[in-house]
């Protein structure tokens, strides 16, 4: 049997369940387990119901289990809402000072904290410590993790922890498993930030918008990464500032969600026309409009593919977990500079904010690549007509070069024109798009999981990959994950579809946007499995719907 635990910790906003969940995940990680944490919270500051659901397993899983092995309740709400999912041998541990329950184990976490002279938030330390004793995690390991994770008043926290540990009883024994080395626990947003920094990002411009905000918060906190974080007055300013910085030679990126991206589309069009490199992170949340800020829908795929007025050559890349965010954010920034065009990294709320195990060796694959630069001879032409459509870059301040970027249609020097000569520049950008298309076929644009030889295949992208991969492995069928979606990797897709007779698209939206994209490429999708309540798929949900379709 694969050791595979599901732990849910919940409470009201402000009680600290997210941090406590992260520490519990790190305890399991210390024992060798691979980790996936699903975060569920509401758009409020205090109160309500937040929870983190951890999957700790010998194997790599990136979906949450419906069944809960250990339920940790900081408040009554958590108990009431999740008790029904407690597995047969599951253990319920609750805040004994707040909750009365005949079942489960109450730990007087508030009393312990108060008596030790701690602050209310430190009750989390008591709960984690009580839990550790109950499930048989050594105090030594617990102490090591607490020392690493808690930055303030560690001695007081340890005193509280020790008391809770000593006064709790042991009921179970979590054993060590073969450890995974070189793994980091990262959210998709953190991984994205790290990938961009490794690829040479100098400026990150953003206006706060869930679920992209933690990218800017992380970059601002991690001063060693040397990325300057700028928070302008709105998303329109965000993208135009970033384009100015890119024009002057500094690698720049912006991040937002669907609504903010809507405001940026005018600037996206400018990036396309002026051939200014930019990486744009679009982390989807429930839409349309304000939608569900802290819940997930994959409803912006068609939007990012067609956003902006006019024909704009662009890359659209949709990583499905933090490891892919790390790799593809770095790749994306380099592509933006290589082809001097916008690159959209399309993620979603769960990819952004959930925590994954990431092999840190991925960082070694990312370099800060040098773009095609002017050879410093002859007249500099910003939009020199070339065969592959890419014109060498120079930046203001370069001696003997006059660098003119233009939002109007223009000639090679960047002077506005409206004559019929404009065709030449349109065709240059069209050739650039053809060059990008060829480049995509040489990149890891499509991934395959499960049984490669199955004639039944699933298509899933973004967070949906996690649960779809598990079901593909369980049922012995194939999973296809398109990652680079624009330019569309026709050859790679044709290759992986060989032998496939039935194809099903699994998506978190109401219409099946990826299915539409595939249809537009002449690929027939036989059925759609859709979910749109804001929460990602459980494996079982896909399985049930798939069985009906087959």
């Amino acid at each position: 049997m694969v050791k595979d635990y599901s732990i849910l910790i919940g409470g009201a906003a402000g009680q600290g369940s997210r941090m406590a969940g992260l520490i519990i995940a790190k305890l399991f990680n210390q024992l060798g387990y691979r980790i996936y944490i699903y975060e569920d919270y509401q758009s409020l500051i205090r109160g309500g119901h937040n929870f983190s659901q951890i999957r700790a397993s010998e194997k790599e899983f990136q979906s949450r289990k419906k069944e809960i092995d250990f339920l940790l309740a900081l408040d009554k709400n958590t108990l009431n809402l999740h008790k029904k999912n407690l597995s047969k041998n599951g253990i319920l541990i609750f805040n004994g000072d707040k909750i009365e329950s005949k079942e489960g184990i109450g730990v007087p976490i508030e009393k312990i904290t108060r008596e030790a002279g701690g602050k209310p938030i430190m009750a989390n330390t008591a709960l984690i410590s009580g839990f550790s004793k109950i499930v048989g995690i050594d105090w030594k390991i617990l102490e090591e993790v607490l020392r690493k994770e808690i930055k303030h008043e560690i001695d007081l926290n340890l005193k509280i922890g020790k008391k809770a540990y000593e006064t709790s009883q042991n009921f179970s024994k979590i054993t060590r498993v073969q450890p995974v080395s070189n793994f980091l626990l990262l959210t998709g947003n953190e991984a994205t930030a790290l990938g961009l920094a490794k690829a040479g990002l100098k400026f990150y411009f953003a206006y706060p918008m869930t679920p992209a905000t933690s990218i800017m918060n992380f970059l601002a906190k991690m001063e060693d990464l040397n990325v300057k974080v700028i928070q302008p007055e709105n998303e329109i300013s965000v993208i135009n500032m970033a384009l100015g910085a890119s024009f002057a030679g500094a690698k720049s990126a912006v991040g937002t969600s669907g609504g903010g991206f809507a405001l940026m589309t005018e600037g996206l069009s400018l990036a396309g026309q002026s051939e200014t490199p930019i990486l744009i992170i679009e982390s989807q949340r429930g839409g349309p409009s304000t939608g569900m800020p802290t819940y997930n829908l994959q409803g912006d795929l068609l939007f990012v593919l067609s956003a902006g007025h006019g024909d704009i050559p662009r890359f659209v890349i949709a990583p499905g977990d933090a490891a892919e965010c790390l790799y593809y954010s770095g790749l994306g920034l380099n592509l933006a500079w290589k082809y001097q065009t916008p690159v959209i990294l399309l993620i979603d709320k769960d990819v952004s904010e959930n925590t994954f195990c990431v092999n840190e060796k991925i960082l070694d694959l990312i370099q800060s690549e040098k773009p095609l630069l002017w050879a410093k001879s002859g007249d500099y032409k910003r939009y020199k007509i070339t065969e592959d459509g890419v014109s060498p870059l120079a930046f203001p301040g370069e001696k003997d070069a006059i660098v003119k970027a233009d939002s109007y249609e223009h000639d090679e020097f960047g002077i506005t024109i409206e004559s019929e000569e404009v065709e030449k520049m349109q065709e240059k950008r069209l050739r650039k798009y053809e060059t990008m298309k060829k480049a995509v076929e040489k990149l890891p644009a499509v991934k395959v999981y499960g049984n490669q030889n199955s004639n039944i295949a699933l298509v899933a992208w973004g967070i949906t990959k996690g649960a779809a991969k598990e079901i593909a492995e369980n049922l012995g069928i194939k999973l296809i994950q398109p990652i680079i979606i624009e330019p569309f990797p026709q050859k790679q897709m044709r290759e992986v579809l060989k032998g496939v007779e039935k194809l099903f698209s699994i998506e978190l939206n109401t219409t099946g946007q990826m299915a539409k994209v595939l249809n537009s490429q002449g690929i027939k999708v036989d059925g759609k499995i859709l979910k749109y309540n804001g929460r990602p798929f459980f494996v079982k949900e896909i399985e049930d719907k798939l069985k009906k379709l087959l």
């Binding site: 100098k202 400026f203 411009f205 300057k228 700028i230 302008p232 007055e233 709105n234 329109i236 300013s237 965000v238 135009n240 500032m241 970033a242 384009l243 100015g244 910085a245 890119s246 024009f247 002057a248 030679g249 500094a250 720049s252 005018e266 600037g267 400018l270 002026s274 007249d379 930046f395 203001p396 301040g397 370069e398 001696k399 003997d400 070069a401 006059i402 660098v403 003119k404 970027a405 233009d406 939002s407 109007y408 020097f413 960047g414 002077i415 506005t416």
Partner: protein, 264 residues
């Protein structure tokens, strides 16, 4: 293109006699003077929005980013962040920056970004064949307001003062030497410099006579209190008897946005 020449081969498409020619001439004299004083030609960068003012960058043989309507101050700030040694100058229009891009103007002033803003205020959207802007007088008869605009204008200098600009001046497009001196001062100022240029639109709003009867040069420097009084002397309405002061109204030294971001 010849590196020495400040003109490009681009055909000029302003109306014959357009007062933008005055601003362009003052600007070229400014650049020549500053190059003589040691600023490298390659370190000048211009941005602009969309409107008659924007054509300047096509006519100038210097680095430029022809941006979006209302957004070029954002682009200018991005350029300055990435190239702190560059002299970043933004041409903007009244519709461009007092209407479409007003939030960017206020915030650029608030953060004291070290850029120079030259507003070509012809007090109407001219390139779209005349509609009222934020500085058109009440009653302005444009193509969208044939009975006269019902909105009162605002005084952009008053707005920019409370927004935190550290250099505030007003010039007149047809007083070229005076205007050149103002542009030099604006570029030399460390911090956000704002130069409002009254630029009569000879086709749609020819108020040359109105301006020339009222304009007078002020003596600088002024205290903030004196600047407030001078700025309020004319409120952009028409027909009244008040005079119109031009010159440098306000100048103060403060750390710039870029210095604070890039330190350390």
């Amino acid at each position: 293109m010849n590196q020495k020449n400040l003109d490009t081969y681009c055909q000029n498409t302003w109306c014959p006699g357009c007062t933008n020619f005055g601003i362009l001439e003052a600007l070229k004299r400014t650049v020549s003077e500053l190059i003589e004083r040691g600023i490298k030609r390659e370190n000048f960068v211009f941005t602009c929005g969309i409107g008659c003012h924007g054509k300047n960058v096509d006519y100038l043989n210097l680095n430029s980013f022809y941006g979006l309507h209302g957004r070029c101050l954002c682009t200018a700030q991005g350029i300055k962040l990435a190239g702190p040694n560059l002299k970043v100058i933004a041409f903007v229009g009244d519709g461009d920056i007092y209407n479409e891009g007003i939030s960017h103007l206020i915030h650029a002033a608030k953060r004291n970004s070290d850029i120079t803003v030259l507003v070509h205020d012809n007090r109407n959207f001219a390139l779209t064949v005349s509609q009222f802007t934020a500085t058109s007088p009440k009653g302005f008869k444009g193509s969208s307001t044939p009975q006269g605009s019902i909105e009162e204008p605002f005084n952009p200098l008053e707005l920019i003062l409370v927004s935190g600009a550290t250099f505030i001046a007003r010039g007149y497009a047809l007083k070229i030497d005076h205007l050149k001196d103002l542009i030099v001062k604006a570029i030399e100022h460390k911090g956000f410099s704002f130069l409002e240029i009254l630029q009569p639109c000879i086709t749609f709003f020819d108020n040359r006579k109105f301006y020339e009867e009222r304009i007078y040069e002020i003596k600088s420097p002024l205290s903030k209190e004196e600047a407030e009084i001078k700025i309020r002397e004319w409120d952009y309405l028409n027909g009244e008897k008040s005079k119109i002061p031009i010159g440098v109204f306000y100048k103060v030294e403060k750390p710039t946005f870029e210095e604070l971001v890039l330190k350390g």
